[in-house]
């Protein structure tokens, strides 16, 4: 391995790439599009409170203070955002059906008076069958506040109280999971697709043959490509983290712990792409082999959705995909600050990358018998 030759080859790779507008677009703009797209589609759900439309029929009664404090208690749960609307009881259901947030609550007339007099009274919750999650949140919140009021009416004491904490130190939103996922996505796809293509087409066009007549070795050639895709990975990761922080208010840790994954990940997939391209006999079969390897990993490694949300069977499948360990490792670094697990993931990827690199050198030949 001679650094001068790696640098010379890297220069050619860089120039070829920078002079190709399509390639440039895909590696620099595509990550922004991806993160914007998925961020906009999915970041709505998650932690933002559910809007609850309320018709307070007890408003203006002498005991109206009760319903007002009931609603403000609901607001304080931070699970729902109470919006009092001026609708009649009869029209409310129809009105809700046309509303963007079709979840509603009706406080009956005489609510305050009945509560003060310890007489049963019933609040009515309208749920949305199409949004079970929002409906569940509202039912839970209303039930919780109602229980609290019941307890107080009976002069009871809260025995079990609740204090809230998330796993880890903070509350994560979808966008926080999406950033490591999409960095993993680009660590996988940009080297895989182009290395498979390069391996097959350079052989067909005789460029490898040409290079075999120079002192450049296969290991040097593969190393220069690895360095290039590592650089691409650093840039796209930077873009994704920046876009996530600025556009979507993501709260991920940006630490040096991320760097090893941005090095070892590209090493793995540059080598794997080369290996896939080398064992194939034609560019067409190379593309097919590349797709067979890439597509399952693209969706099932925790790129777009956390693997822990998968059914058990798919979860075990994800655990045999190398990209899972890259993304899980980055999750540990960026979200959970779990250094031990990040190191384990890193070790798995590193060993895999070295093995695949050596296999790629072994199977990728410049010349024929």
């Amino acid at each position: 391995m001679r650094p001068a030759r790696i640098v010379a080859d890297l220069k050619v790779v860089t120039r070829s790439y920078l002079r190709n507008p399509v390639a440039l677009f895909f590696s620099l703009i595509f990550p922004i599009i991806l993160i914007a797209l998925f961020g906009l589609i999915f970041s709505g759900s998650g932690t933002s409170p559910v809007t609850l439309q309320v018709v307070d029929l007890d408003h203006g009664s002498p005991e109206a203070g009760v319903s007002e404090s009931f609603l403000s208690a609901l607001n304080n749960t931070s699970a729902v955002k109470v919006v009092v609307v001026n609708q009649t009881e009869e029209n409310f259901a129809a009105w809700l059906g046309q509303n963007d947030d079709p979840v509603g609550l009706v406080i009956p007339a005489g609510f305050g008076a009945n509560y003060t007099a310890h007489r049963p009274t019933t609040v009515l919750v309208y749920t949305d069958p199409e949004d079970a999650a929002d409906s569940g949140v509202v039912l839970g919140a209303v039930q919780g506040v109602a229980n609290y009021y019941n307890l107080h009416a009976a002069n009871g004491t809260e025995i079990v109280t609740l204090s809230q904490a998330n796993v880890g130190s903070q509350v994560f939103t979808y966008i926080d999971y999406l950033i490591p996922g999409l960095i993993g996505f680009s660590i996988l796809t940009s080297p895989m697709f182009s290395m498979v293509d390069v391996a097959a087409s350079y052989r067909k066009e005789g460029i490898f043959r040409q290079l075999s007549l120079t002192p450049l070795t296969r290991a040097e050639w593969l190393t220069s490509h690895f360095v290039w895709y590592m650089a691409i990975t650093f840039v796209t990761a930077g873009i994704m983290i920046g876009a996530g922080l600025v556009l979507f208010g993501a709260r991920v840790n940006v630490t040096l712990g991320l760097v090893p994954f941005l090095i070892v990940g590209p090493l793995f997939f540059v080598s794997l792409g080369m290996l896939a391209g080398s064992v194939a006999k034609t560019p067409e079969s190379a593309a097919l082999i590349g797709n067979i390897i890439t597509f399952p990993m693209m969706f099932l490694s925790g790129t777009f959705f956390p693997v822990s949300d998968f059914p058990a069977g798919l979860q075990s499948f994800a655990h045999i995909l190398p990209l899972y360990y890259v993304i899980d490792g980055m999750n540990q670094v960026m979200l959970f600050s779990n250094t031990m697990r990040a190191l384990t993931d890193l070790l798995i990827v590193l060993v895999g990358a070295v093995v695949v690199f050596l296999l790629a050198i072994r199977f990728f030949t410049w010349r024929d018998e």
Binding site: R5, A8, V12, E205, G206, R209
Partner: protein, 310 residues
């Protein structure tokens, strides 16, 4: 004079098929050697074996004293190769390509000088994918020279090029020889071989069917020199009755084979004496191309007959 290339009973088999069926030749250092043969004769296979791009099945091969397959790395520093239909990185310019090769070989080539030499100076900064076929081939030639090679392999360097580009490449080949480099050339163009080569070998069906200088090959395998007239078959009959030389008539032409130069005088006076009409006379000699076509044709006929008999 030492031999730059030695080939001793070289055999290459693909499965049961012999692409090269036991050939021998040597190329003296500092000469131009043309390796000819129809498509599929074993030319490219042999060339690739010499370049260390392909292993051989049997036989002994030495280029600059090195085994091309097992000592490829050492050999590649000392040879230059332009393959057939040279291709390179599309977005890279000829100047950058030369600088790249210079870094790979650890040499310090002069891109401007090299491009000047192959008449490509005006395209020094054009991307490879915008170059014409001839300009691409010239880029390949310039690259093959970045490591100051002792032996240059040129595999059909002028195929598909226009006459001007071909002449430019010929000039480079001549200058390579003038600098004392050995040139191993394969080509389809027999006139090219005749013009440039010191030694020629013709390969067909994996065997060498003729070898030597172009003149030797023509003398050994060609027909004798002829005197040709534009005239009818009547003149041919007259000449046959008067001359001890073989006479042929076809397509309004009459040809008299000459054993010695002075036979031409005898033929000419016989023609004059005949009183028959004739026009234009010229002496005709077989070219390397005529010999090539005939040798290859004869061999294929022979093959067909023996196959028919079996």
């Amino acid at each position: 004079m030492t031999d730059a290339i030695e080939v001793d009973h070289l055999v290459k088999r693909y499965g049961g098929l012999s692409a090269v069926a036991g050939i021998d030749f040597t190329v003296r250092a500092g000469t131009v050697f043309a390796f000819l043969g129809p498509n599929g004769a074993g030319k490219t296979t042999t060339t690739e074996i010499l370049e260390g791009l392909r292993n051989r099945t049997e036989g002994n091969v030495r280029v600059l004293g090195l085994d091309p397959w097992t000592e490829a790395a050492a050999l590649h520093r000392r040879i230059g190769v332009i393959p057939q239909d040279f291709r390179f990185f599309e977005k890279i310019t000829p100047r950058e390509a030369i600088e790249y090769y210079g870094s790979l070989f650890g040499t310090h080539p002069d891109p401007a000088g090299l491009l000047e030499r192959v008449q490509l100076a005006d395209k020094a900064s054009s991307r490879f994918d915008t170059l014409s076929g001839g300009q691409k081939q010239k880029t390949g030639l310039a690259l093959a020279l970045t490591n100051d090679p002792e032996v240059c392999f040129l595999d059909e360097p002028t195929t598909g090029l226009d006459p001007t580009a071909r002449r430019a490449i010929w000039a480079v080949i001549r200058s390579l020889k003038a600098e004392g480099r050995t040139v191993f050339l394969t080509t389809h163009y027999l006139e090219e071989a005749e013009l440039l080569a010191d030694q020629v070998a013709i390969i067909h069906h994996g065997r060498i069917i003729a070898a030597g200088t172009p003149t030797e090959i023509i003398a050994t395998h060609g027909r004798p020199e002829r005197l040709r007239f534009d005239a009818g078959p009547g003149l041919a009959d007259y000449l046959r009755s008067r001359l001890p030389l073989s006479v042929r008539a076809a397509d309004g032409r009459v040809e008299v084979e000459l054993h010695e130069k002075t036979d031409a005088l005898r033929a000419l006076s016989a023609v004059e004496a005949s009183g028959l009409p004739w026009q234009n006379f010229a002496t005709v000699q077989d070219t390397l191309e005529d010999v090539f076509v005939r040798l290859v044709g004869q061999m294929d006929d022979g093959t067909l007959k023996s196959e028919g008999a079996a």
